[in-house]
Symmetry: C2
């Protein structure tokens, strides 16, 4: 967690970065979301990061409610870190980062494609307008004040 580093920012993107903005955080979530990983040693083998760093990230995810510990059976091995709904809801962030990397720094083509379970199609992110229903370009977006614009949380 970035702590209160972004506290003067009344911005949902900044608040999201407080939870997932530290180095490695999003790659741990990627492994949990799309590679079915849940154990400390699985994350460590996948990422090759220092155990103290990994431990700190997992603790911060527990604290933020992004992950929870699965109840372990007596005598069973390592605890399993399971994504909560709040954690699974970060999938679009990972998908968006992946799409950008695929387009701008994947000379050999996308290493991973996101398939649609049970349909064989490929899933990608789109900006959809709730009024006209059309797909919008990023350049069509206008930031407008929302209901929380006046508050400092």
């Amino acid at each position: 967690m970035l702590g209160r580093t972004y506290e003067n920012q009344n911005c949902s993107a900044a608040r999201a970065l407080e939870v997932v903005g530290e180095r490695w955080s999003l790659l741990i979530l990627r492994d949990a979301l799309f590679r079915g990983m849940a154990r400390f040693t699985e994350f460590q083998r996948s990422l090759g990061i220092a155990p103290n760093v990994l431990s700190a990230r997992l603790q911060s995810f527990l604290k933020a409610g992004v992950m929870e510990l699965e109840p372990t059976k007596e005598g069973s091995e390592q605890p399993r870190y399971r994504l909560t709904e709040k954690g699974r809801d970060l999938a679009p962030v990972v998908v968006a980062l992946t799409a950008w990397g695929d387009r701008w720094s994947a000379p050999g083509g996308p290493p991973v494609l996101f398939g649609h379970a049970g349909c064989d199609g490929q899933v990608s992110l789109a900006l959809v307008c709730d009024r006209c229903g059309s797909y919008a370009e990023a350049t069509d977006l206008q930031a407008r004040p929302g209901p929380g614009a006046q508050r400092k949380a």
Copy 2:
């Protein structure tokens, strides 16, 4: 930039994080994308970060081709940092972070809504299947090897 920290990761999300994963990077991009900011002092006023940090981030964006310097007229003031297509293409990452923050840590409601220029609708991100055309849930996504799966870039 995170340098080659993630170099053993053949993953487009990791490569994206090499460019935008440092603290403040995504908030600078947010200001450039959705608040029309382009000058050093604009970013600094908005974010309140140390000038040396901001300077390093802007330099890294220039180096990565995410921003470019606008040709300045003779005698004109501060240089303007303009997003390139590669930079504008990061909008969905900011939108995805914002959507998560709106849902999970915006007690007063979303501070900002993304409007659809010329239509008054609201734009949000959706996961769309290219085969069946339906909107997918994050839990419907399956990571499958893509054409770049065998390469280490």
